[in-house]
């Protein structure tokens, strides 16, 4: 693999590698965060979501959302289709 060499020639290389890691971590966070947010919101109480208190973790954890969705008959028909 191209990346298996660890020799860094001076400052230019260090800046380059820092940039590479910054981009990689930024891509990682930006891609992952919406999914984490959606999962957190799905497990949070509706009041907390409405007031904008949910960031990474469910606030007032509840399964009410899931209960409502699963009660809808249409969901199972859709899955069947």
């Amino acid at each position: 693999m191209k990346s298996s060499k660890n020799t860094l020639n001076g400052g230019g290389d260090r800046i380059f590698m820092t940039l590479v890691y910054v981009i990689a971590v930024f891509a990682f966070v930006v891609t992952l965060y919406p999914f984490v947010y959606v999962v957190a919101v799905s497990f949070s109480g509706s009041q907390a979501v409405y007031q904008g208190k949910v960031f990474l973790w469910p606030v007032e954890p509840t399964l009410a959302g899931y209960q409502q969705v699963l009660k809808q008959g249409g969901l199972w028909t859709a899955y069947g289709n």
């Binding site: 660890n6 001076g10 380059f16 590479v20 891509a27 990682f28 891609t31 999914f35 959606v38 960031f55």
Partner: protein, 285 residues
């Protein structure tokens, strides 16, 4: 044998093209495609003389151009970055996470956008407010539509589209890098003088294919994301034709504009191919 494949293409791809003839007729459902009164360029004239033709064409072209401008280089940059990561585990994690957005459907994506960018309950506005700024209504403001549309498109596509560039980079002969190291090359120069030239053929080919889709802005996503308030920047050819078609059940109109779209797309691909052949000796045909 070559024959079955040729037959497949002729029967299922070329013969149906004759159905485009309904663009020049007044199609009546139930009478078949080839029946119907010949009206010539009536639908084309109707489209181009409508007050919104200029706006829709402008929006279609702008959205496509922005999508290509921001969506094309990013997978390449990302692929180069990923290949520079030394730790295998971290590289695999970043790659896998980057593929995730590609697999969520447009409806789910627009649902997430509506949720996250909402004026009073969206997390983006909450962040802006907590930093002291003023809340922005992203979804109603025409000036933000293109940004949201193109941005979410780039977010969805950059990981998956980088796969092919990663594959191309993996195929580069390592002796080139060794030759570079003997000359004491920096990593940045490595990228500019070895990596990019060696994948330039892949880049050009994918670019030509991308250009071929320039006039086909996805109907689904625009339709889900737009509202009357943002028609100014959001109304594209496909959504406009959809509304007109619903009003009058006019299949011929839809076919005519679709034909127009395809002709423009083909012209773009043709020109891009010619340019590519002149400049880089590699082309699709």
């Amino acid at each position: 044998m070559f024959l079955p494949i040729m037959a497949y293409y002729i029967i299922f791809h070329y013969v149906p093209m004759s159905g485009a003839v309904i663009a020049f007729k007044k199609f009546q459902p139930g009478h078949g495609i080839y029946a119907g009164q010949w009206v010539g360029l009536k639908w084309f004239i109707q489209f181009f003389s409508s007050p919104f033709a200029a706006r829709t064409i402008r929006n279609t072209v702008l959205i496509s151009l922005y999508s290509i401008l921001f969506g094309f280089p990013l997978p390449i940059v990302f692929a180069i970055c990923v290949m520079e990561i030394t730790s295998t585990k971290f590289r695999r994690v970043v790659q896998t996470v980057s593929y995730l957005p590609h697999f969520i459907s447009t409806v789910v994506l627009v649902g997430m956008i509506t949720n996250m960018f909402s004026m009073n309950h969206g997390i983006v506005n909450d962040l802006i407010a907590s930093l002291g700024g003023e809340r922005v209504n992203f979804l109603i403001n025409p000036r933000w539509f293109r940004t949201l549309y193109v941005g979410s498109g780039v977010w969805q596509g950059f990981g998956f589209n980088s796969i092919i560039y990663i594959a191309a980079i993996t195929g580069i002969d390592p002796s080139l890098y060794e030759a570079g190291k003997i000359d004491g090359i920096t990593k940045f120069k490595e990228v500019v003088y070895i990596t990019i030239p060696m994948i330039s053929q892949t880049i050009v080919m994918l670019f030509i294919m991308q250009l071929g889709r320039i006039m086909s802005v996805g109907f689904e996503k625009v339709f889900l994301m737009y509202s009357t308030a943002v028609y100014e920047t959001a109304d594209v050819i496909s959504t406009y034709v959809y509304r007109k078609g619903l009003e009058s059940n006019n299949y011929s109109f839809g076919a005519a504009i679709g034909l127009f779209n395809s002709v423009i797309n083909f012209a773009f691909v043709f020109v891009a191919n010619q340019i590519s052949r002149k400049l880089t000796d590699s082309s699709l045909w």
